[in-house]
Symmetry: C2
Subunit: 501 residues, 2 copies
Amino acid sequence: MEEKFLELKKRLSEVSAINSAAAVLSWDQQVNMPTGGAEDRAAAISVVEELSHAKFTADETGSLITACYGWAQGLGEDSFEASYLRAARRDYDIARKLPADFVGEFSRTTSAAIDAWGKARANSDFKAFSPRLRKILDLNLRKAQFLGYKDSPYDALLDLYEPGATKAGLEPVFKKLADGLKPLIKEINARAGAVSNDIIKGDFDEDAQFALTNEIVAALGYDFSRGRQDRSTHPFTTDFSVNDVRITTRTERDYLPASIYGSIHECGHALYGQGTPREFNFTPLAGGASLGVHESQSRFWENIVGRSLPFCRWLLPLLRKHFPGKFDKVNAEELYVAVNRSAPSMIRVEADEVNYNLHILLRFEIETALLEGRLKVEDAPEYWNAKMREFFGITPAKASEGILQDIHWSLGVIGYFPTYTLGNLISAQLAEKMAKDLPGWKELPEKGEFAPILGWLRKHIHSQGRKYLPGQLLQRELGEPVKVEPFLNYIKAKYSGIYGF
Amino acid sequence: MEEKFLELKKRLSEVSAINSAAAVLSWDQQVNMPTGGAEDRAAAISVVEELSHAKFTADETGSLITACYGWAQGLGEDSFEASYLRAARRDYDIARKLPADFVGEFSRTTSAAIDAWGKARANSDFKAFSPRLRKILDLNLRKAQFLGYKDSPYDALLDLYEPGATKAGLEPVFKKLADGLKPLIKEINARAGAVSNDIIKGDFDEDAQFALTNEIVAALGYDFSRGRQDRSTHPFTTDFSVNDVRITTRTERDYLPASIYGSIHECGHALYGQGTPREFNFTPLAGGASLGVHESQSRFWENIVGRSLPFCRWLLPLLRKHFPGKFDKVNAEELYVAVNRSAPSMIRVEADEVNYNLHILLRFEIETALLEGRLKVEDAPEYWNAKMREFFGITPAKASEGILQDIHWSLGVIGYFPTYTLGNLISAQLAEKMAKDLPGWKELPEKGEFAPILGWLRKHIHSQGRKYLPGQLLQRELGEPVKVEPFLNYIKAKYSGIYGF
């Protein structure tokens, strides 16, 4: 039996190697590629992805999984082999449920939709995009049927990004979160003038910003011998393997936090990738428990660590070093307040810690309503705008700052948005648990002592790789499911302090 | 029949896309990859190359080639289809002649040999490398037997890099070249003190060097919208497709020509790649007629253009701009003399235009003698040193500056070296023909007018892609085979001027 398992491992390690190649092609596309190379690169990525898919979904893979499954589970639920087989079977079953011609149709539709979305957004013309969106919703409904579900087709899609999560499970969590956030937002908006972020706006040399972010992520524990940072239009993290996990950042000359917090966010993802055990490399156990758990890592470092007062105390001398003269008269408390300024925003990706989750809740409501046929595509923009008024008291003037702002739907992705909020919630749960194990950890960043924090995350999260479903992982390591209270307690305490209420 | 041809084109375009992916992986490996990623990257490249090989050598490919061949030739010898089929069949036949287990053994042997060579060279210990070299010679003999040959096994290997070339054909050419060069070298060495290159040695900011080389290659016609330049340990050019042809350069703080002429050399290769017709992209007709013809392009730009007096006149103001103060008291004639200084060198890659080809002739003699069993591996170092004395009057003090200096043999590559000299010879033939079509072209670089020169090369060489074997291409475009006289005339005229004899 061990021989069959070795055969399976060899096969899936080759699939991982091919996926690694595709990831390099995509990274280069976003970081280095000259404009002229676009079409040929798309062709190369497509061929490589097809080869990976063909190898992975071949009957031989299924036979090997079936042959080893029982044997592996017999080695103990927590064994490498048992976890390996669970992850492999899950991926294989999903991949096999989708017929090749459906995957082809899906891919052709979304390829065209991305362009159409780009143009529609540029013209703020939702009607130009709506036929694509209808088609994409239809394809996602069919996808859900192929994958199977009990209550809502949304569950089948959500499960792709956050295994085990369901719409019915998320609804009460999201409602409690919204109920907790709305009064907080009112309090903050009533004091809108109390906080300024002028000190982090201005004119900051972009090479200096890049050098600063390299210094920051190195301090947090990012291993440059197994990764590198570059610049790209949209910051992202990509894992070629456990031993080459790359991040990108984006510098804005007139707005310093874009690079600093972009880098810290991606570094949080990358620390998860770099912390994956070596024996999980090129196996189905690499890659993180779920998108939500992944996002908990990026948000933990970005917000809970990076936007804390102790971190700002550590950061200030670095700012003075990289931008001589600019921060001489600023103190750490002013910096802390500036990087935490909260204000309603039309755009999700520009939203602060308080407002961000309501942007997600809005998308969750619209996605589920559209998919379940409770909302028509043509009525979606007004639904969106009404929700913006309800949550933030503002109305998008045009679709580009409303319903057309996100790329996700044009990519064919429905059911992904909730993972952002799950990440925020889990990050606060991790911070709470960390406080029990490492009393006083929140002060460590002031001295630049990030290693104990990373060590705790390595032990409880990173070292598990993809061995457990996210719900199981939280239960094992935190003794609880996803909860709203830690995040609400954290955000209320923080913002009542900053805005004084 | 056209349907079968379209099927073949689709298939080979997918093979090209996979090869493009492998090239990106390799480029990234040399330009960007963090050290930790080495092992996984090697695995990814190996898997991707196997997929390409499997797809290309599949029976289906052969059936399609056979099915279309006659039909394509019927469309006219010069037609796209006929040329396509000739190139495809040539590649397919070669690939199919080598059994999979032999390819595996070859690859395993050379993988280990590269490491062994690196260590042996570091210790100047030829004996540590000699068992590997014996094995590699043996594998190359077997390779030649698989491929087939008439006179010498060397012919089968040479043909891989320079289709149609034979040992018997090269010998008289190389002899005439050596006979012409030896007296020239004596004249120069007798005047060794007459020329100094001190002005291009010193302390040159490496970022400024890089900026300078970007400006130079852009002026020569390198299209940055379909390529980019980076830095790497060894300069190289790589074609991901016709639309993404990248070059690298190497800066040495204390020696300016390394970056300038490294960039111009690679730019010469890249102009060939970027000049390939779009309809040849992702087909067997992309990639250049042969390594020798490719090298003729790099050498033409590097030496015949880049080391000419008119070019130095154009270059000098650029040097003054990028290195303020350093070239104020230098004139173009001094610069010209400095970049052309000639002196015997132990190391091929450091050799000047006069000496370079004798380094190749030495290797050609040793390679053929070793392969044909006329020279034993253990006697090769002394053979090498004797040739160095004969050609240059110097003796390597250790194997690292003698027989162990090149990586080629450890890569399993025998029969490649002659292409360097063929490139030098062809570059001079091109210059001679160009002078007939474009009288006065040699003065154009002084005014920065490189477009007519590039246009001529585009028309006569680049636009042909891989339609013809190198010998056919030269016959068509120059009306002659590879010849020694143009190079000898060029080099004698140049150096008698510089050294005054």
